[in-house]
Symmetry: C2
């Protein structure tokens, strides 16, 4: 296949998940209209073969995860997905792999909404960059800042399984529940929408609970007191994985109160003193660092 044939094959795999824009794939740019009076909310993320996923990993879970990882940033802002752009680098031998990646992305987008309306193919070492774009009314965007002392700290689901998969080096066993959690994170789009007007601050847990909680605390100039017994630990993981491991993509937020309908777990309380206490003791923050 030449480049244009591969693009056509990818569009066939994407099917309805590549449609819905004012102008879709095939022109110099995609074009969409936004809901009136809403902000455009945007983020970009790259996953690189041998760094963010095993070189030998099949395309489908890599594509699914790439898309969900980027969509998770929209969830953290309370945005509804509208448009995604995908830039993929691959070698000529990777064409079947690229179609499998597209299939994984299609599955992710079918779960969250929005459409893949543009992209780019380049020859090079395997990497996938996804640029995501959603919308949200300006006065309802969830920020990292905005927490108040005394508010509760919550997460939307169990943590640590993805990190446990990395630690156990079982990423090639796609039947392991920890590996499934690694490759099939759900961007918490619905939770993010439900948190509009509820959460005072919000972030997604991508680098580790404590590290991402530190980002929230710094943005609000506050601290946190966590109770280890309240932290939901994922299948196959332990508390260390849940505290320091990234890649879970649950939402971490603060709120004065949470509606019962929202399935979130309280793990601690916002404090006026900066820093993070775990069961009353200061705790060292470890987490994912891309460069050291």
């Amino acid at each position: 296949m030449n480049e244009f044939e591969l693009i056509d094959a990818i569009l066939e795999v994407l099917g309805p998940s590549a449609r819905g824009g004012e102008i879709g794939p095939g022109d110099d740019c995609a074009a969409i209209s936004l809901p009136p009076h809403e902000l455009l909310i945007s983020s970009i993320d790259t996953l690189i073969g041998g760094v963010h996923f095993p070189e030998a990993a099949p395309g489908e879970p890599v594509g699914y995860r790439s898309m969900m990882v980027s969509l998770s940033d929209l969830a953290a802002m309370g945005a509804a997905p509208v448009q995604m752009l995908v830039a993929m680098a691959l070698e000529e031998k990777d064409q079947a792999w690229a179609l499998a990646v597209a299939g994984g992305m299609r599955d992710a987008v079918q779960e969250t909404g929005g459409a893949i309306l543009g992209g780019n193919l380049a020859r090079g070492p395997r990497s996938i960059t996804v640029s995501v774009h959603g919308s949200c009314p300006a006065d309802r965007v969830l920020r990292r800042s905005g927490a108040a002392a005394g508010e509760g700290i919550y997460v939307t689901g169990p943590l640590g399984s993805a990190a446990a998969a990395v630690a156990a080096q079982c990423l090639s066993d796609l039947d392991d529940p920890r590996t499934r959690r690694y490759f099939r994170p759900r961007a918490r789009i619905e939770a993010g929408l439900a948190l509009r007007g509820v959460a005072s601050s919000c972030i997604d847990v991508s680098d580790g609970l404590l590290q991402d909680l530190a980002h929230l605390g710094e943005a609000s100039g506050l601290g946190a007191a966590l109770e280890s017994g309240g932290i939901p630990v994922g299948e196959g993981a332990d508390l260390e994985h849940a505290l320091h491991g990234g890649d879970d993509y649950e939402l971490l937020f603060t709120a004065a109160s949470v509606p019962a309908a929202l399935d979130a777990v309280r793990i601690g309380t916002v404090t006026s003193a900066p820093g993070i206490l775990l069961d009353g003791e200061p705790v060292a923050i470890k987490g994912y660092q891309h460069f050291l």
Copy 2:
């Protein structure tokens, strides 16, 4: 520098070119408002070290070119730049190079407008992905389709110098005028804005004049008759470079007439018969192919 320190250093280099959004770098996503009643126009492009730029190329021209190449897609749609997102992969030793890339991007954005409001750093082989976002009233977007037989075919400037630089393997000589043309293309944003309501179809010349003209023709179901004497050949290039070489990023458009104020050169006429004639003879289309 760790990741967060490198991000801070990049933001310092970017300066005002990273400001102006409702929410800028530092949260999970960037947020902007669009002019009311305008479409969001988006594209994404990747440049890879050793493929799209020499591994040893300094960061400043690579950054400038990366940004302009993506912005050129906005120009081709008649869009005004609003927001850019940059995903960069680099090795730890490349930190100074990354800051130079940021400087080149800042210079590009200062020339075209818009702001760099988000990004991502990842460890890996050098690559740069730029996602660009502009706006345009829905009824004034320039498409690849829309040409009519008898209309003129125009380009906004000379072609072939960038291809001549590649052919002459002089990309390491930044003083060569062909190399300057390669590394310092101007996205024709102003021309694109001036072509709203003037051009019936438009594309940017990124893969080669004939190949991109073929895209225009296919989109409109029409052909083209070119006169070789009318094609503006860039400094240090010959007609072959101008016909088949990519990387010039001038706009190629069709129009019934062009205002005198618009600095464009007529190179031929839209024909009802498909295919491209050069001085009355069919011509073979060669151009850049990312995969073969």
